[in-house]
């Protein structure tokens, strides 16, 4: 390994990277755009437009509606005058939920009976619907609870304060803010995408140009060539990570609670997997278009299986095994662990170790295949 030759290649790559303004701009800006988009588009179920058909029109029914509004999940914007109205609003997508309070709501309550309130939810988006339903359910339960205590007091009976007191605490993310969860995930995802893509295209393009052939006839070794090509890409990766972190901290207010140094080290380890994957694909694909199609075959499943969108623990057992074969899974755990939970090596070493093993395996395979392909 001749490091001056590695540097010769790296210098050329840096020059080309800086000269190709369009690619440079998209490599730098695209991650930022994606973080901003994901950060804002994360589906927080709050202030969902709601329509109420109140047939009771009493102080009691208004109290129920008020209780729903107070949760901040329901935003009662429309008042219906028929069932048709409710259906039409939900059909049109104007509201997520429709609430129907029966005419005998107040009178049944006074008789000590349970009136039935209908909560209809547009469940096209299952997550949003599930949240809305459970919030509505808990509003009903707590209202009933309050009424029972009141009734007992009125009857002069002692009210016991016994019962299970659930004190909910949302650790690591007390505000239950979606962006705290999403932004670190986006960092991992973008890094995988950009690095794989760049390493793949830098080699495939040389092959398409015919310059790879010219390099092979020079005394350069394939190891020197690969190293010289990936050092500039690592620089791009570190710049991307830094920009995303700055955006996370200063724009979204998502602080890095753990060690920044450890985070960068994990990023470095992850480079070998992503750059190795890109190099590997470049040895299979003959053209740029073919390479792009091939890479989708790796990137899409790894995104879905990694736990970026769906928690791994919630997956069917078989898919969980597959998710353990995806390096992104470990990297995500590490990134979220460091940024959100602030944990260090004492907890994350198994993931980091596995990531190293993956990196070593993928990168070595790619380098060997590359060497064989050009020889």
């Amino acid at each position: 390994m001749n490091f001056r030759r590695v540097w010769t290649i790296a210098t050329k790559e840096y020059t080309q990277l800086l000269r190709d303004r369009r690619t440079l701009l998209s490599t730098m800006l695209l991650p930022l755009v994606q973080v901003v988009l994901y950060g804002y588009l994360s589906n927080d179920i709050k202030h969902e437009p709601t329509i109420v058909w109140d047939l009771s029109r009493t102080a009691e029914s208004r109290r129920f509606t008020q209780a729903l509004s107070n949760t901040q999940y329901f935003d009662v914007r429309y008042s219906a005058s028929s069932m048709g109205d409710v259906v039409a609003h939900i059909d049109a997508g104007k509201t997520l939920a429709g609430i129907v309070i029966p005419p005998d709501y107040a009178s049944l309550l006074h008789q000590g009976k349970s009136p039935q309130v209908m909560v209809a939810v547009d469940a096209s988006d299952a997550t949003a619907a599930r949240t809305a339903l459970s919030v509505a359910q808990s509003v009903g339960t707590s209202l009933s609870h309050g009424m029972q205590i009141k009734a007992l007091r009125l009857a002069g009976l002692p009210v016991s304060q016994q019962g299970v007191d659930v004190r909910a605490r949302a650790w690591y993310n007390p505000g239950l803010r979606q962006e705290v969860f999403i932004v670190p995930g986006v960092l991992a995802l973008i890094l995988q995408f950009t690095m794989t893509f760049l390493s793949m295209s830098t080699i495939v393009r040389e092959r398409e140009l015919g310059t790879l052939e010219q390099l092979i006839v020079s005394p350069i070794q394939s190891g020197e060539l690969i190293l010289g090509k990936i050092i500039p890409l690592m620089t791009v990766g570190f710049i991307n990570v830094t920009m995303i972190l700055l955006l996370a901290v200063f724009w979204f207010g998502v602080p890095v609670t753990g060690s920044v140094l450890l985070l960068y080290f994990a990023v470095f380890v992850f480079f070998f997997t992503t750059l190795g994957l890109g190099t590997f694909v470049s040895t299979i694909a003959k053209t740029y278009i073919q390479a792009i199609q091939l890479i989708q075959f790796f990137l899409l499943p790894s995104m879905l299986l990694s736990g970026f969108i769906f928690p791994v623990a919630a997956m069917p057992k078989v898919l969980q095994w597959f998710s353990y074969l995806v390096p992104l899974t470990y990297f995500l755990t590490i990134v979220r662990g460091i940024i959100i939970k602030g944990v260090g090596l004492d907890y994350l070493w198994p993931q980091l170790l596995l990531l190293m093993l993956f990196g070593f395996a993928v990168f070595t395979t790619a380098a060997l295949r590359f060497q064989k392909r050009i020889a």
Binding site: R19, T211, E213, Q214, V217, A375
Partner: protein, 309 residues
Amino acid sequence: MIGSNTTVSVRSLTRRFGAFVAVDDISFEIHAGEIWGFLGPNGSGKSTTIRMLCGVLQPTSGTACVLGYDVAKDPEAVKLRIGYMSQGATLWDDLTVDEHLRFYAGLFDMHGARAGKSIAEWTERVGLEERRNQLAGLLPGGYRKRLALACTLLHEPQMLFLDEPTSGVDPISRREFWDIIVGLAESGTTIMVTTHYLDEAEHCSNLALMYAGKLIAQGSPQALKALPQAGVTLEIDSPVNPAILSALDGLPFVRSASLYGSALHVTVDRAQDAERLRAALASKGYDAGSLPVIVPALEDVFAAIVEAA
């Protein structure tokens, strides 16, 4: 036994790709300072041969020594001492002339003053001083080839492989390019060049013709023209009625006939066939004239050799 001035020595070199035999048991020698022309149709195995000689592709069998190093056993030693310019002069469009030269200097471990001196020298020799800071993508075709050549010459290789160095280049640039090549050979560099331009082949001291993986002829241009397979070319120099061409069809001793301006070149098997040709034409009412024997163009020679092969 390799002579002291033998630069390339190839013995029974063969390369198979699966069942396909790209290079089929070829042998030849190239001497120091020679311009060795490698001719043949596309896909005949020239580039595969060159790739083996450059140490990039392992031979299936046979041996090849370049500058005394076995290309199969010691490819790195070969790579350090040769220059290779691939088909189409591959450059990076987004790098300048100077950046290309610095890059190639670095690849061959030339740094600092040594690199600077060599770069300055070659920029001048190929006439690129004015364009040092121009992007390669903006260079006209002829200058692209010169830059590619300069890149392969920086480390002063003793052996140079040029794969179709002048394809797609205008005639003036081609001539200038060949002036450089001839100059290099005169200063002792051995050159192996492939080309489809047969006027360029006349510059070569030796030629080899490859066809379907085999070397079917080799020798100096003069020797090739005198080969028996080349036949004898006669000229009918009178305003020719194109109908003569059809009259020649079916004459067993006529190999080929083609129009050159107002004249007709007819290739026959032997010099004695001239009289038979005259008689055959006279019987059809045509006057063949004096039927002088002419030195055939290489093009006709190769057409004849390939046909005979």
